[in-house]
């Protein structure tokens, strides 16, 4: 299954990345190579090998319900692009129709 420029445009929209027509044409075949390479896993995965999402054979790694110190507000807002009323100030919500 070949990835089209249209597919890449849709992914770019979802990832909020602006790509030109030329970039889409370049990226589509490149991403396609990556997908094909990964898809080769299914060539070796037999019926007796269950799909896996984690490399570690662990389950139920929990933390007790206990408080740990939070950051100070100065530390928190230090990473904000802008701050106002002790909150992060961000542009009007992305993708909203005005």
């Amino acid at each position: 299954m070949a990835l089209t420029a249209e597919d890449v445009a849709n992914l770019a929209r979802l990832a909020r990345i602006e790509l030109s027509e030329a970039e889409l044409e370049v990226l589509a075949p490149q991403l396609d190579v990556i997908l094909e390479s990964v898809a080769r896993v299914s060539d070796v995965a037999a019926q007796d090998i269950p799909p896996t999402s984690h490399a570690l054979p662990l389950t139920n790694v929990f933390r007790e319900d206990e408080l740990r110190a939070s950051l100070s507000r100065e530390q928190v807002l230090a990473g904000a692009p802008a701050a106002e009323q002790m909150r992060f100030r961000v542009p009007k919500i992305l993708g909203e129709e005005a």
Binding site: L14, A15, R16, S53, H54, L56, L58, T59, N60, V61, F62, R63, E64, D65, E66, L67, R68, A69, S70, L71, R73, V76, L77, G79, E84, Q85, M86, R87, F88, R89, V90, P91, K92, I93, L94, G95, E96, E97, A98
Partner: protein
């Protein structure tokens, strides 16, 4: 916006509901980090690298939140997954600093359950599709613009204190066959769920603070058709009353579209409490667009059957089962029980019965005298100022003949006014019934002598005229006499 009158809408269309309830757990710390979940703190004081989504931070699952999720699942008669994973739900929105929400996708911790709601004495069985774990988002404040809402806002301000608070999403299966009762069933379901979650002790369930939130899916289909119509999902339904109103509104709105030959658009809509209508909300990506995949930072959860069994064994009695049980124990009729439930008097009556009163007397006082005071002051029954113990004491005074029902009302007034215990009020206000036969006989004689015409009537067989004489005696005794004894004495004297 055109709407069809509700009765017309229901004559032509059959509503199908789907309810999604988000409940914030009352754990001490957040789902994946040790920040506090306390409501109402100063903005951005309960955040850390994990709930801010800073690079390099790693989530760690709160054991208590998993336990609460399992208990909720069990209380809703769900199957508890033997093995399940968290998943990343990818989308860009400023209230989600990681640009993904850790949620569960095709492997919820609890699934395929059911519950029951009782409405007007009828039982509705509601199927539960799933209950899954996820994390709450931050809170946005939209600044500028005319309305203060997203539309027209100049920019947004974000507080991430709520980001990462443990959330359980409970989704029903399609609720069919409720007909015109659909809005009330929706409300009854959310009410039942609130009571259930409160009984479980897993959440504050305060809709006004957002710890219980409901999204209502509504679709219509022509009466008699079995395939579902196109649904809308209404958000921002933040009170029990709004649940009922929003569902009712959507039924009338969609019916108007269908009746005029139009098609309902599948969309998210926003409920407006003040105007009582819904408007189209933001166009969210469809499910495939969230590009869910298993969360690589968290290992799977595999609750042992022993753990699940242990949690199952310690579940409290579900609210619906409790109502069934107490109704049977108290011997109340359906109608009596319905009144008790809608007055919010179940707990009070239970405590009063435990303090020694009969169920019927407890019901009588809580639903008359105390309910009247509660209504006058606009407070809950429990806030009137009479304890179940005191109600039982007053009833005991009635039963041992110290006072009658009429005098009991004055005792209630005294107790509510803070004049002391029931016994002290009886003494202070001199309310005890006069059991002095001499004084009673004198009053009876007085009444008979003063009303010869009534005496004649009684003598000629009109026994009901006795009431007038009893009234006269009671007046002389300032109400402090046993009416039955007075009647006996009058009839003895005349007969």
């Amino acid at each position: 916006m055109t709407v069809l009158p509700y009765a017309d809408a229901l004559a032509a269309y059959d509503p199908v509901l789907g309810l999604e309830v988000h409940v914030e757990l009352n754990t001490t710390s957040k789902m994946f980090c040790g920040c506090s979940t306390a409501f109402g703190a100063e903005p951005n004081t309960q955040v850390c690298p994990v709930c801010l989504g800073l690079p390099g931070s790693l989530p760690a699952v709160n054991a208590k939140a998993v336990e609460s999720a399992i208990r909720i699942g069990l209380a809703l008669n769900c199957t508890i997954a033997e093995w399940c994973r968290f998943a990343r739900k990818n989308y860009f929105y400023p209230d989600m600093p990681k640009n993904y929400q850790i949620s569960q996708y095709d492997e919820p911790i609890a699934y395929d359950g059911w519950t029951e709601v009782v409405l007007d004495g009828e039982i509705y069985r509601i199927g539960i599709e799933r209950a899954h774990m996820e994390e709450d988002t931050g809170k946005s404040l939209h600044v500028g613009g005319a309305t203060g809402r997203i539309h027209g806002a100049d920019y947004s301000l974000l507080d991430y204190n709520r980001s990462g608070v443990p959330l359980i999403e409970i989704v029903t299966k399609p609720v069919e066959g409720t007909g015109a009762k659909a809005p009330e069933v929706a409300r009854a379901y959310v009410t039942m769920l609130r009571d259930l979650l409160r009984t479980l002790g897993v959440s504050d369930v305060r809709m006004e603070q957002g710890s219980l939130r409901c999204d209502a899916n509504v679709s219509l289909r022509p009466v008699g058709r079995s395939t579902f119509g196109t649904r809308t999902e209404t958000k921002n339904v933040n009170s029990l009353r709004s649940v009922e109103r929003a569902v009712r509104y959507e039924i009338t709105r969609q019916a108007a579209i269908l009746a005029s030959g139009g098609r309902v658009t599948q969309e998210t809509r926003h409920w407006h409490e003040d105007s009582g209508i819904t408007t189209p909300g933001r166009n969210k990506e469809t499910a495939e667009d969230y590009r869910y995949f298993p969360e690589p930072d968290l290992v799977p959860i595999a609750p042992s059957r022993e753990w699940v069994e242990e949690l199952h064994a310690t579940l409290p009695e579900p609210p619906t089962a409790r109502l069934k049980r107490v109704r049977a124990e108290w011997g109340f009729s359906e109608l009596e029980m319905r009144d008790v439930v809608s007055a919010g008097a179940v707990n009070a009556i239970e405590a009063t019965v435990a303090a020694g009163a009969t169920p019927q007397s407890a019901r009588k006082w809580w639903l008359t005298e105390i309910a009247r005071h509660a209504n006058e002051e606009g407070v809950d029954l429990e806030a009137v100022g009479v304890t179940p113990q005191q109600v039982a004491e007053i009833q005991a005074l009635v039963e041992n003949g110290t006072i009658n029902d009429k005098l009991a009302r004055q005792v209630f007034e005294g107790v509510i006014a803070g004049e002391g215990s029931p016994a002290e009020v009886v003494t202070a206000r001199k309310l005890a019934i006069v059991s002095d036969e001499g004084a009673l006989a004198a009053a009876v004689n007085e009444a008979i002598n003063a009303n010869p015409d009534i005496v004649d009537k009684i003598k000629s067989g009109k026994v009901q005229a006795t009431g007038a004489l009893i009234g006269s005696v009671m007046k002389q005794m300032r109400g402090q006499a046993d009416a039955a004894r007075v009647r006996e004495m009058i009839l003895e004297k005349i007969g």
